[in-house]
Amino acid sequence: MKIVVAYKWAADPQEATVAADGQVDFSRAKSAVSDYDAVAITVARHLGDTHGADVVGLTVGGPEVATGLATKAALSRGLDALMVVADPALTAAGSTGTAQALATALAGVDDIAVLITGDSSVDVGAKLVPAVVGGLLGWPVLTEVTAVAIEPGALVVERAVSGGTEQLRIDGPAVLAVATDAATVKAPGMKDVLAAAKKPVQQLPADPVVADGTLRSTARLSGPARRGIQISTDDPAAAAAELVSALRADGVLIGGQQ
């Protein structure tokens, strides 16, 4: 029985720069295992330990996802093995192309109990890939998953819904996108990295990448317009009151206590 975790080797948005005209520049940002995918790996590791299952990572992307630095970073988070599809054509793949490549790789793996993914990627954040993969494989897809257990032939899944949690039972494999707080991620230690260097990494060939149609942005990204509110701090008490009312007017502050 295998538990597969799909993760993204993604540029860290904290290192992106935003120019004055709103353009986001990721060119100087370094890559890492996408934060929420680290949560997915942690959930999968617990699940694997509980049920004695192998936890296999799967990533698709440009050539950089197959470097020793990238594969070790993922493996040291507790995966038993790794499958990598690295191809220059995947560097700029969109949700459809990425999901297609993931689904193709998964089709070649037997005995998958579940595919676990993160909530969304830190750099794009579209929350689409798990759903498209599920659709391509014909598996059910659940998001906001907070806990998973495996029973013979079935998964028992807890997920957050507005106002509480629900528990669901699914027969057969499924795609589960875990909530961002489904597990506490621990930074890998030296022994983890050492073990990672000895784990198997399987490089899979890439099929021709499916293009996501032609997407062209036709207008500049426009954020909420700044209205040029200026508050003088000469009188701190008055400034605070003014700030509060400005925030209230914008709907940032809500509730009683004027």
Partner: protein, 431 residues
């Protein structure tokens, strides 16, 4: 030894010193781990700027072709900066460009490249791991401790930078004295390549390095620098810590003053701030180089205090590389003979003394003392400008012969001829 070592060698710190030591030892067939606290190597390293390439070319013969070099420095300027004037010496040489003698680098790019070379050579690179302490048994260093994990090695290499808490906490190095430390404040400012080339008068791929003395530090011992990268400019100040404290100034305040100075502002105008940071610089020169070997441990690069600040050039990266080459020789020898005691590792200090690092540290041994001389930062800049003003500041008043000009400027400056001669002599001896 109480347990089988996990590696022949563990190197702590994936800066220039650590990477090159690890690379060379792996090349000799040893098993090597290279640990750095940054998520990616170099992530936390303040990009110094100008790298003298010869030791890197020795280790990587294709360094100039394959490494992430910003520009080949073919133009060097020394600028005495005063509040309303500046006097510069401009040195340009096609030989510098041809030989790639010095290049500008950004550590955020260079360090990952070095770590990748290490990976290719078979080094196990461990980023994102902060080593807490050395693992010491019976007075011997047998590995490192990080969090709950211990890793053991025959020899541990401390390449953990200027603070080297590893060696210090283990009582193997004294804490540096304030007068041996300087604080560097640096920013990287983005500008289009063609603007950089026009402002600094260089061709594509060529670069300029400006060493600034005087008003840029508000009289604090130290200096400023401006280096051109491909699409950005590195600008910063290096300030002597004791002098900074004595003058009651904050390093960022001095740095901001330098950025706002019309001289600097003109060069950086319209640029976008990309990166900003502070870092300590070991300025003590040879006096600060501590003991380099202990049982099971060698110390390289900034961790061992190997920096030379002549006032005009800050050198640390090339010395770190040179020390790494020497350390690799000593460590490999020790492991081969099975003697990792301080005596067994003595090949390292021996190779170091024989190479350019040992010789240059010796040559510049007096530089730190000379640079403590306040006239370097306060008096000579205005003196030069006053003399030149007599020559170029034609205003209808009768000119004086140049000899008189010099003497008058001198009188105005309040420095005696004897003092100048003494300073010049000391400068010549120190630099």
């Amino acid at each position: 030894m109480s347990a089988e070592p996990d590696f022949d060698v563990i190197v702590v710190g994936a800066g220039v010193a650590g990477c090159i030591t690890a690379y060379q030892l792996a090349g000799r067939g040893l098993s090597v781990a290279l640990i750095d606290r940054g998520e990616t190597p170099g992530a936390k390293n303040l990009s110094g700027g100008v790298l003298y390439t010869h030791p890197l070319q020795q280790v990587f013969p294709d360094f100039l072709q394959t490494a992430p070099i910003e520009r080949r420095i073919s133009r060097n300027q020394i600028c005495f900066l005063n509040q309303d004037s500046s006097v510069a010496i401009d040195y340009r040489d096609a030989r510098l460009d041809r030989d790639g003698t010095a290049v500008s680098v950004l550590r955020g790019r260079l360090d990952p490249w070095l770590a990748e070379r290490c990976e290719d050579a078979g080094v196990l690179v461990m980023p994102g791991v902060r080593v807490d302490s050395l693992l010491i048994e019976d007075g011997r260093v047998v590995g490192v401790v990080a969090g709950e994990d211990e890793l053991r090695a025959r020899v541990t290499v401390a390449a953990d930078g200027v603070n080297s808490f590893l060696a210090r906490d283990a009582g193997l190095r004294p804490a540096p004295q304030p007068h041996q430390l300087a604080v560097g404040v640096k920013a990287v400012v983005q500008l289009p390549s063609d603007i950089i080339e026009a402002r600094f008068g260089v061709d594509a791929l060529e670069g300029a390095a400006i060493a600034v003395v005087g008003d840029c530090t508000r009289g604090v011992g130290g200096g400023g620098f401006i280096y051109t990268n491909q699409g950005s400019i590195s600008v910063g100040v290096v300030l002597r810590l004791d002098d900074l404290t004595a003058k009651g100034l904050r390093s960022t305040e001095v740095f901001d003053g330098f950025l706002d100075h019309p001289y600097t502002e003109r060069l950086l105008r319209g640029g976008e701030l990309l990166e900003y940071g502070c870092h300590l610089v070991a300025e003590g020169g040879q006096a600060m180089v501590g003991e380099l070997v202990h049982h099971g441990l060698v110390i390289v690069g900034d961790a061992a205090g190997m920096t030379i600040n002549t006032g005009l050039t800050v050198r640390g990266m090339d010395l770190a590389a040179g020390a790494a080459i020497a350390a690799a020789v000593g460590v490999a020898e020790a492991i081969e003979t099975g003697d990792v005691t301080a005596a067994g590792l003595a090949g390292y200090p021996k190779a170091l003394a024989a190479g350019f690092v040992g010789q240059d540290l010796q040559t510049y041994a007096r530089a730190p003392k000379f640079l403590e001389n306040p006239r370097m930062y306060e008096s000579y800049g205005p003196l030069l400008a006053d003399a030149l003003h007599q020559v170029f500041g034609l205003d209808g008043s009768a000119r004086k012969p140049l000899r008189r000009v010099a003497m008058d400027a001198l009188k105005g400056s309040g420095i005696g001829v004897g003092t100048i001669v003494k300073d010049a002599w000391q400068g010549a001896r120190a630099l």
